[in-house]
Subunit: 80 residues, 2 copies
């Protein structure tokens, strides 16, 4: 089973990295950039198991370890 | 136009962050993890334009700024 977890700052939280990237892209010549947000992702290769149970485990671990739920959103995607 | 750029270390390059996350997930109780790789993504909101030209510009900027092509792979996805 292959899961991908996306973690990004909540929309209401300032994203200085994204802002820096936006500035750099404009300096390098990409015009018309309205917004850049940066996030991270984790590719997890898991041994097979009950998908529902795996999903619950992973969800709980996202809240504890992979994301900071105070300022970050996360999304789990199962890759088939 | 909304583009998402995924940047991750090449398969042949060691990923110490992924390794650390794997160890931490196991400590927290997620069993059967075979591999964890970490990467980053950029959400870009661009003004409308010719998609082919935009794609070329973005591709060139990925090589210059967003990714380090020596050790990283990148992938551009257009979100509709």
């Amino acid at each position: 089973m292959h899961a991908r977890v996306f973690v990004s700052l909540k929309r209401s939280v300032l994203d200085p990295q994204g802002k820096a990237v936006r500035g750099a892209l404009e300096t390098l010549g990409l015009k018309g950039i309205e917004d850049v947000r940066q996030g991270k992702f984790f590719d997890l290769e898991l041994a097979d198991g009950d998908p529902a149970e795996r999903g619950r485990e992973l969800d709980s671990l996202c809240q504890k370890l992979l994301a900071n739920p105070v300022i970050e959103d996360y999304r789990i995607e199962w890759v088939t």
